[in-house]
Subunit: 390 residues, 4 copies
């Protein structure tokens, strides 16, 4: 990169949580400047938040359309390069479409939209414009997840047979949406959240992780969704039997009523020769279990000798030496950093490397929306298996 | 107990593995004498094994019918009190029936039989004779599993919503049945093993554990069974969506092709107020996750003060002080010890305590066979849900 | 073994704890019969305990001298083969000496005696009589401790540089000796316990473990002992800097006031090429950390392929398949089993194998007493280093 | 803060490692702009690094004196506010002194200087000028370390008795200083590193952590230092017995030859009522072990209800929700953020809060240098105890 990229943000006022995560992820490597924002639909909050975040007054906007149009008219060396969209789900599509069509690249929180139709339209725009879109499926940003993917790809475990992926949380074990402005309110409103609460909010993370690491794709599924908490208008728990390409099978569990759990994302994959295990709450350990061998724990940031050498994808996404834990913010930042380098390379007429291109994109976004649709359809059906049309 | 009980054993020659486990479990507390055995269908092996195990030559039998009949004719102070049946599944029913009808109590390895019909016949005999049968669902013998059950029962977690129980193993990731006399051979022969390999061998353990700890019963299920290893004649992996009484839901996974796993039994239960987690490979820790509280780890053998006092069921089944790990053999021995004390009490005209009666019995055996049947039926069906008729 | 060995027990009445552990350890493998006992100095308790443990009335003794003399006069096929001595420390020497001199072999709890002089006298008797004595330094009985020793010995870690061994407990964080008949009373009485409470009770375990695994011997030490609990008459905490043969160094910590700890024995050894870590509270995992390689976890009971094959010492002392945890009782039982096989072999004119001979013996007992002496001497000295005269 | 602070950096060229850590720590919260640097003593490296880090060409300096003098002459709204000093130890004092005396605040890597005299001079300058200095003892920046400190302070554990703090690493198990430009070279040169390699590089971290969490101060110590690796000119391992104020005792271990260890900082503190345990490699768990209670695990970012409510110091230093791991970079960033807020508050005439003031300062730096001195003095002495004159 010959210069820092300039970021505008849509959503992410100081009363929310996810905006701050995106900002940290953008700031951490010193390669992105935060130059403008339409940080809230509430003009007062937008202004206050912009000031508190040290934006120049004339680049604090109260409306995303206004921001995109005005920024587009600023001189090239000044105007933002991309927008980061951190609004509730139903407000992803509009800003993303307008930004892409106005010549800006886009980072958008997951799920990408609230319908497959919207997702496909974004995909079409990308195809047409050649712009870049990053989707923040955080867990794929971890070095040890990338190491897992690399080892599966190189055949370390042989043919993959079984995938178990789970995302238990407990924060919706109570009717949180009435209690506090926690983000639970809009999430449990289908017009704002999409067809499934649990699958939109966390199930797509799990599905993406399973496909990302295994390199396989879900072909059929059988889902059971539940609303456990009385008074809630959407599902808060779901279990899904999975069938994958190449004969693999699996189970996906996503739950927001697993009281006492925090963000216990975990994936286990078993092949003919061995298995792997990775967990978000202990993200610097990748547990490898080969037949006839002691268990191995690959740890972030190590300069192992061959044949244990960590994959270039793992090392490219690691910032500090082994034993010094990196966490979710660094995984998140890897998506931003790789996106920024890809955008820079493309703008400077270069070809991004495979490592730079390694972030979730618009196709992952489409697939996520299809996953939600298929799960909801399966849940409503008495047939055991529903085809995943992807 | 005013005297030791005398045990005969059917199966359990020195070439197998499970007989040794049963013997250790019987010996450990010094309350059971091993007096006779029909240890193998091969007379030579039976004799050799009997000698090596220090049986008196005249009480080494080569045939279980012979043993039961001869022992029945010995004087009361000499003859065996109960038999322990550790043969392959298809050889459980015959010896159990004959023993019970000959006035002996019975310990039998799981699954209890190879069909629901056999299981129900044993249930009838028990009902008729008043004899005692213990089924070695080992995991329910652990103190921290008993603590978990007690806490669920006392309402510590509120109404139960979600149960995830799993038993991944890797030992059948290869076609072990052709390679060595590992017990894989008869296990993968449906005439000897029953309708399902994976569910008979380990799935019933998981199902029993889920019902034992939660106090709920499975009402409906949706199963997907797979044979992953080429050349194997029975299933080696299964995933099941569960519905329980009182509106709880769950997932059961049993797998013998999870390469690299050993015996990673694990159960997680979530209620309205919190959740619990227990794992066989770390059995002295019971992880309690309550809403709004730090996680707690209840550990075997502690004299916690109120309100943390360990349940009488946990302490009754613990032999040594905290920090000194007890393992599977002690859990197994708890079944034997409680069975022996129950049998002694009944024979001496006393009422066994609730703690003594706390071991898997013939009803659990029937339920296990029904579970296998229902899973197999569900797997064959295109309907999503199959009723568990129990 | 062509027949079971017959055990008598001195101490171990039902009001104590350690007797039960010894009995389980003796019973578990079905190779030892418990035939007589002088279970308490209180005749009533001795009798009650003997009955409850199903001893024949005429072999319940109330005095160890009486027991040893009477048993010696019983016919060879009846009389006990060995005694297990589980009395307070000051009552180890007398029974051990008399038993050995009367032709019986001996198992004795640690520390072997209450003085170096006593210990050396037992060593002399052993030398003279050829009898066998086992000392129950439990932790050396674990399969993964034996694996660690084997790997050090074969040079897996290169030259050893650093050894950290620790045994923190919390049970004496309060003045327990006044509160209950917990064994704290005699332990904190120097006439019954020996020169150091913390070093006698647990420090010798740690010292033995360090020397057992490393194959090195302590040559110099620098100790700081403390009595933290007001009203206690002996030390309850000690930290020791160590120097070993071959230039290795180390630290030993033994503490009974580490409130909240249970029996957190842990050893770490570092050589030129890598390190190992093992902990009593997670005893089936041996963590291996080699330079330039992922961490490895060797687990009990696995049939690893070369070059990972578990040592014969590890496998010989394992009873059940991997993933099924074994615990302290099995480690303890390994000492009994190996002792019994050694005694049998010697009595039958055979040479015990190296695996059978692998239990702590009278020389370890002498060394333990010397360790206590040296620590106490160092504590009293202003010199930094005190020579370990062993 | 009404505006971002402007940072200059001394040292930290792209060929090193620690500069990058400081920059991430400074950038992560978007409150600090990186405006100038003298990034290397090699002018070419300085220039290249400055460009790569997007500094304006006229603020890329090749000499720290030049930088400080020129920046001091820039207008108030432009010139840097503070310098971050990330040079080898022997180059801390000069830049720090000049910066402070030129009106700039200072962040400096540890150990603060290479002698007690230098450290005390900085302390005097601070006293005289009222400037602010932050010392990057990273581990005290973790939320769960702050929670531990808060719980000790509020008396949760009663009077503190025992402190065990350790920092084992393995990266100097080989003669790394000859092999690569790893920072091992200057670290093992006493003229650049100070009196002790192991104590300067990591021992001071451990000593600071022990005093920070316990609130106690070391009064006496007994040290053993070793150079294990042939050809190395400084110590690479040290073990120290400690005595603290109020009668507490402890052990400190710092080792760079613990082959296979990464950065396994760990602290355990035991009081009359219970103990705590925290480890850098699992930093979001604070293990609490109270007498008579199940273990508790306090985890970063939780909104526990009373009486478990996390301390304001823990929550103030947490960025994301529970279950999403934060790591070393966030701990490091907490020092920068708190320093920046303190500096801003003081410059704006406000009183910083206790939370903002919670970062290691010049007094900690002096104490660190005294610790190194005392350890080296003790090592050279035959007396058991050496007074810590602090």
């Amino acid at each position: 990169m010959t210069r820092k990229l300039r970021m505008g943000m849509i959503g992410g006022g100081l009363d929310g949580f996810i905006g701050g995560v995106h900002r940290i992820a953008a700031f951490i490597d010193g390669k992105i400047d935060f130059v403008c924002g339409a940080l809230s639909v509430d003009p007062e909050k937008a202004t206050e938040s912009g000031k508190a975040l040290f934006l120049q007054p004339d680049r604090i906007y109260t409306d995303y359309v206004d921001m995109i149009q005005k920024e587009a008219q600023l001189p090239e060396g000044v105007r933002m390069d991309f927008v980061s969209i951190v609004t509730p789900n139903f407000l992803h599509f509009g800003p993303a479409k307008l930004a892409l069509e106005s010549g800006f690249d886009v980072v958008v929180d997951k799920p990408m939209t609230i319908s497959v139709a919207e997702a496909k339209e974004l995909q079409d725009i990308i195809q047409r414009t050649g712009r870049t879109l990053a989707l923040t499926h955080t867990y794929s940003g971890y070095p040890m997840v990338k190491q897992a993917k690399a080892m599966v790809k190189e055949g370390h475990f042989g043919k993959i047979r079984k995938i178990v992926v789970e995302y238990p949380q407990g924060w919706l074990a109570r009717l949180t949406e009435k209690e506090l402005s926690s983000g639970a309110e809009w999430r449990s409103d289908p017009t704002k959240s999409g067809k499934s609460l649990v699958m939109g909010d966390i199930g797509t993370h799990a599905a993406h992780l399973a496909e990302y690491v295994s390199g396989l794709r879900i072909t059929d599924l059988c889902a059971d969704l539940t609303t456990f908490v009385e008074g809630r208008s959407m599902d808060d728990d779901g279990s899904v039997l999975l069938r994958f390409t190449e004969g693999a099978k699996g189970v996906l569990m996503a739950s927001q009523i697993s009281a006492g759990e925090e963000n216990a994302v975990r994936i286990r994959i078993y092949g003919e020769k061995g298995g792997l295990e990775w967990a978000n709450e202990d993200p610097n350990n990748l547990i490898i279990k080969m037949l006839d061998q002691p268990r191995q724990i690959y740890r972030t940031g190590n300069a192992y000798a061959a044949p244990y050498t960590l994959s270039s994808f793992a090392t490219y996404n690691t910032r500090i030496p082994s034993g010094h834990p990196e966490g979710l913010l660094e995984a998140f930042a890897n998506i931003y950093r790789n996106f920024a380098e890809t955008v820079s390379a493309k703008r400077e007429g270069q070809t991004p490397t495979d490592e730079q291109l390694d972030f979730p994109n618009v196709h992952d976004g489409v697939r996520g929306m299809q996953f939600i649709d298929t799960v909801v359809q399966s849940h409503a059906s008495n047939e055991k298996w529903t085809k995943f049309e992807g």
